[in-house]
Amino acid sequence: MSHSSPAAAALRASLPVLFGYVPLGIAFGLLFDGLGHPWYFATLMGLLVFAGAAQFLAVGLLAAHAGLLEVAVTTFLLNSRHLFFGLSLLTRFRVGGWRKFYLVFGLTDETYSLLTGTRPPDGVPRVSYDLWVTGLNQLWWVSGCTLGALLGRAVAFDTTGLEFTLTALFAVLVLEQYRATRALLPFLVALGCGLLALALFRQEHMLLLSIALSTAILVAHGKTRQWTPRST
């Protein structure tokens, strides 16, 4: 029974994220601890913000006493790659109430990757699987943030290199995406745009610019090659 339950299937899919998020979360918690605030605010950030890069940035912004408008604009720009994620999930997330809200709220890089790169076993409803994946990923992240702020400095285990879990996860998901689509073009366009963005722009803008450029090129290509007239 447990093998076909949404929770078990989602747990299996999200395990690599556990090994990626917990060390990253601990790193954030440790940095946050340096600000001198109570540990539970690190937990609160993991719960309410749930965005790795933005939370790391927040440590710097808090230390510099940045203005709230600056915080808002910087966070929005830093996370603006998420603007593109929902485009491929518009119909998938057609569920009501809190379920849709939580799926949208929890759409991190890794959650997006798992939701678009893995599928639930036969008989498991898609929406339950999606909710479990999102919830478990956030559980790993919040646990990491809390552990780091609470007792990170007492952890002796050498985790150097554990962050490679996320690199390996994305490599596996690229392979799975190719198996599912059998189309080289999206990969080649992305690779070209990514290398171009790395060469021309500052690294922190690389993801947003390359995702935007890839989307524009793929749309332009789709309009010339695969356009099927249809009224909406």
Binding site: R12, P16, F19, F41, M45, L48, V49, A54, L62, V71, A72, T75, F76, N79, L83, F84, F85, G86, L87, S88, L89, L90, T91, R94, K100, V104, F105, L107, Y112, S113, T116, G117, T160, G161, T167, A168, L169, F170, A171, V172, V174, L175, E176, Q177, A183, P186, F187, A190, L191, C193, G194, Q203, M206, S210, I211, S214, T215, L218, R230, T232
Partner: protein, 110 residues
């Protein structure tokens, strides 16, 4: 402003700004989700984003200085090889990460 109050305000503002980036597509395209361009993007965007996230993970690998990205290359080769062979994501990711941790912690590459 009181330090705790400022912290709470920053968390609130960040939570709102982050949620906005994730929710905007759903707010903007609530009615047009069946549009052919959006359906097309739904197919081609995931592979493109996955490729870019992989590239992003590797962007800080120092290719010009020793060990010239060799640990990353070997660990990635292990991940890809294992995955093509067994197609077990946990095995590919676990073994690849284990190999990478051994390579960077043991100092075999200096």
């Amino acid at each position: 402003m009181d330090a705790t109050l400022y912290l709470i305000a920053v968390i609130g503002v960040m939570a709102g700004a982050t949620l906005l980036t994730r929710a905007l597509p759903f707010l903007l395209f609530a009615r047009g989700a069946e549009h052919p361009t959006l359906l097309y993007l739904g197919r081609v965007l995931p592979p493109a984003v996955m490729t870019l996230l992989l590239l992003y993970c590797l962007k800080d690998v120092p290719l010009a200085t020793a060990p010239h990205g060799l640990p990353e290359a070997l660990a990635l080769a292990a991940v890809v090889g294992l995955h093509l062979w067994r197609r077990n994501a946990l095995l590919s990711i676990g073994a690849g990460t284990g190999l990478y941790m051994f390579l960077v912690q043991s100092g075999v590459f200096g």
